[in-house]
């Protein structure tokens, strides 16, 4: 079991190692971690810390994508959750209550998406688009268009504080990923989610309650997004409904795709998605450290996605498979490929 997981995430680990090595090449102190003022400092810690929102979103997004869905609203949900938490704290509530309220808002958003997808059978892109468009408006409504700043030490600790010398966001995303991962993989839930993603009709015929599963998956995504929103708000000590989580949905989807999860649903790996989130953050850090203009960030990201797309493409995979199958020793381990048509002959 352990070995197969390792084999699954090997490409991501290699890419991450390469990205980190590149970071080291442009900045020799990259792996240097020091202990100062009761907390750990260093670029490596920074990558883990700054990657927290993407990692959280990627956890929920992986499950949604595994059911052949997509959740475009996570960025807007982050804005809403941040606004809810900030206005609760400003209104005099205790920070734990504020976080709970933010989570409740995230859960409500997730429920809304889930009901649209599962009960009304609206395509996920469209169903979550509604909240993506309207959500930021709702967030601005809550903060009345201003950046709502707060000074509650409890809430700020979630974004900028430390627990046992390690920044809190790192603890949060690792804890959430562990909880979700354990619940999914130690029970049959993961298998059921994969079944729904591969073929919803046949999984329903096999007795799986696809509707409840779908709603639950969007609910988890909403909760993860709410947590990410609280962290981002706590980090800047304010809720900026206009910019909080802007384009984060794309980073989250990118993390899942880099993690090698198919957008067409089915088998998934949360670990791989988390590695994907760290790779994105590693690339961001590489661009900053190398002194390249920040403008290149998007171009590089785009080139990475295109490269991954080409590698993942069914057509390219098929050609690679044929190539490998025709070169000998592997042939014995694999089932014989179908008779090749002249057309495929030309490709390989």
């Amino acid at each position: 079991m352990m070995k197969s997981t390792l084999k699954r995430v090997m490409p991501q680990i290699i890419i991450l190692a390469l990205v980190l090595a590149a970071n080291f090449l442009v900045f020799r102190g990259f792996f240097h971690v020091e202990f100062q003022h009761g907390r750990l400092f260093g670029n490596l810690i920074d990558v883990l810390n700054r990657g927290a929102p993407t990692a959280l979103l990627a956890t929920g997004m992986t499950l949604v994508i595994a059911t052949r869905g997509i959740d475009l609203s996570v960025g807007a949900v982050m804005a809403i959750a941040g606004a809810v938490a900030a206005s609760a704290v400003v209104g005099g509530a205790h920070w734990t209550l504020a976080v709970l309220l933010a989570l409740a808002a995230g859960a409500a958003c997730g429920l809304w998406n889930g009901v649209l997808v599962a009960i009304f059978r609206i395509q996920p892109i469209v169903a979550t688009l509604v909240l993506m468009v309207a959500g930021r408006g709702i967030g601005q409504l809550l903060t009345e268009g201003a950046i709502l700043t707060f000074n509650d030490p409890g809430l700020i600790r979630l974004g900028a504080g430390t627990i046992a010398a390690v920044p809190t966001p790192i603890w949060i995303w690792i804890a959430v990923a562990c909880v979700v991962g354990l619940v999914i993989r130690r029970s049959a839930l993961g298998l059921l989610i994969e079944a729904v993603g591969i073929n919803q009709t046949s999984s329903r015929l096999a007795g799986i309650n696809a509707r409840v599963l779908l709603i639950a998956v969007y609910l988890v995504s909403g909760l993860c997004a709410a947590l990410a929103g609280v962290i981002v708000a706590a980090d800047i000590k304010g809720a900026d409904a206009n910019n909080a989580g802007l384009w984060m949905e794309l980073d989250a989807i990118l993390a899942v795709v880099i993690g090698g999860n198919s957008l067409l649903g089915g088998r998934f790996s949360i670990t791989a998605s988390l590695l994907g989130a760290l790779i994105i953050q590693g690339v961001n850090s590489l661009i900053l450290l190398s002194g390249m203009p920040v403008e290149f960030n998007l171009v590089i990201k785009a080139l990475i996605i295109i490269a991954i797309l080409v590698i993942q493409s069914p057509r390219v995979r098929h050609s690679l498979y044929l190539l490998r199958a025709s070169t000998g020793p592997v042939l014995r381990e694999r089932p014989k490929p179908a008779p090749r048509t002249p057309q495929e002959e030309g490709q390989s």
């Binding site: 601005q140 268009g145 794309l250 290149f296 171009v299 996605i305 295109i306 797309l309 493409s313 390219v316």
Partner: protein, 330 residues
Amino acid sequence: MSQSTKLPLYITLATFVLAFVLCAAQYPAMASTRVVANLLTDNAFLGITAVGMTFVILSGGIDLSVGSVIAFTGVFLAVILRDTSIHPLVAFALVLLITTGFGAAMGGIIHYLEMPPFIVTLAGMFLMRGLAYVLSTESVPITHEFYDWLQSLYWKAPGGGRFRLTGALMLLTYVAAMIVLHRTRFGQNVYAIGGSAQTAQLMGVPRARTTIGIYAVSGGLAGLAGIVYTLYTSAGYSLATVGVELDAIAAVVIGGTLLSGGSGFVAGTFFGILIMGLIQTYIVFDGTLSSWWTKIVIGGLLFAFIMLQKGLGWATTARIRLLTASDARS
């Protein structure tokens, strides 16, 4: 059957007329040619983008790159007009060539690598926005006498409304798109692929050519929208038009086009754009409502029209089931 495909279009039209009448009843000044002319001018670039988006959505795809393409076009034009002495018309042709080629390339990747349009155009969105940043991170003003001349072209209607060149260009795009979609083989192929890609292929629709063509049209129209946008703002800015792709998709959906593809009309998109423009105008007229209400109302409208489409879909299948059941009995 034709009744149920045209019904969303009629509902959109009715919504627009009703909304306009209600607005005009509250603020009589809204029924002036000035407001109508501004409605066309202010939404010209969005309208042109939405035409391309209609093609893509009719074929069952999606194009997330259009907002970035508009920004890239703006920055490209601004930089090229600042640094070289080529005539704007040549620059227009050049940029249209680039954006059309870019769209065609995305279409090619989508078709030949069998990747979901969503993720391919997402990469395209990053790429174009990034290229715009690379060209210039600052807003570059455009000063050229040809631009001044283009901007000075307008027809002054009785009542003081100024119908500008860009509004006319948008209307022209819609007319051209209607002719292409309903009177050419390419248009029929777009509908066929959107209805069912597999069936279309079995019927001999050239899928590769059509898919590439669809995304080329979307890219090219986004480029045209970018040109219109520079005429509107007289500048190129790499951070401009963020999120326009969502507005365009929303306009197409509000216009009654099915997001699953195969059914819809460009005319619906036109009224979708006008409805969205009307909401903004109303908020300006009202003065007490804040700008974020635009987003919430558009989100609500989007939801209402999606549910409407679903309801119509259910009604149609229920009727077919009823018909087949009664056939079986007789």
